[in-house]
Point group: C2
Chain length 234, copies 2
Amino acid sequence: MNSNIRLLVISTSTIHGSSFLTYIKDDLVDFIQTDELIFVPYARPSGISYDEYTANVQTALADKGIRVSGLHTYSDQKEAIGQAKAIFIGGGNTFLLLKTLYELDLVNDLKAAVAAGLPYVGTSAGSNLTGLTIGTTNDMPIVYPPSFDALQFLPFNLNPHYLDPDPNSTHKGETRETRIREFHQFNTQAVLGLREGSWLHVENAQIELKGTLSARLFQQGKEPIELQPGLLQF
Amino acid sequence: MNSNIRLLVISTSTIHGSSFLTYIKDDLVDFIQTDELIFVPYARPSGISYDEYTANVQTALADKGIRVSGLHTYSDQKEAIGQAKAIFIGGGNTFLLLKTLYELDLVNDLKAAVAAGLPYVGTSAGSNLTGLTIGTTNDMPIVYPPSFDALQFLPFNLNPHYLDPDPNSTHKGETRETRIREFHQFNTQAVLGLREGSWLHVENAQIELKGTLSARLFQQGKEPIELQPGLLQF
């Protein structure tokens, strides 16, 4: 992995009993090492507008002195990415997010900027994009993107909001683990299930699992294993 | 709607506390009005083989005197669909199912045969296909189909295994209702949430909701409503 790449790959923007970004704010600010952040609102959770979503991020980070601008407000978005100090892609619908980035022809610009050292923060759908494909998203396919190929900073796939099977459930829909096993019938890459409250800090070609919880690693043809917080080796 | 179209659109093949197809078997047999059934195993739940999946259906229906053959066993699958007495598309992964049907160039054959009166039974992923698109499936996008357009027998979308929000959940992933509301930010067609144990019987251009539960209808720009079992008008 390119040692210039710096990522914060966050399972969820919000944890139970806490408000938007609160639990992760200090780590995010430490990570970006700048007070200027470009926010990418294209995943539009619940259909929220770009302006409103960006304003929510600005509000959440205002007490840290961070100035947030929405990528959608730049007349030249390629130039904005090239000149950004740090970028944050928020959660929502992964299909919509990726389709919009392809339509705006920003996928290669994001890849190039992050490969050159631009700090990248993702939550949920924005974290899905750091993997090889969006083939392990939990989201509903509300729009049809031209490809499922993601930004491919990491050599595996992510499954944010990873949820353990509920032993008391009577529902016959597939569990998350069943879905990921089905994925491995047709795809070879590993899948990392990141539970809510967990995140990855990627720097100097090292991947550190942060938070208090373990993460669940699924590899084709093997039993899933639990990875403890700390540097990941796989 | 074409009055030749005959469909059994089933939310789930299996309900809690019962074995595969048991609760729906009598209705299925009454509906197909034949003892020869072609089964389409391409959705491969949990990656099961085509032969194994077909054998499971044969076992479940054997006591009713139904002979089940897998569509995959025919050298000319187009001809098999054209000559079928009844067809049953089983559940599993909707993306895999639709991609396989496109790859085998069977989408138009299925549309033509059902438009001419071929009885069609779908469960779960097979039910998703009876709607306009697969944009409201719950499945993981483990493969990339060439389109999300489905068989379009019904003038709306389906959401099988419809699940009401859990008021006690601390999980921050989207509820089913939130996902469908996001769908309606970008799509105009209605979405019918079919709870487990419910199914639609379509005949003579009429749609009847069967089972004991209500279904939840989502229309763009309106509050969702509950539809009671019986003939649906919308």
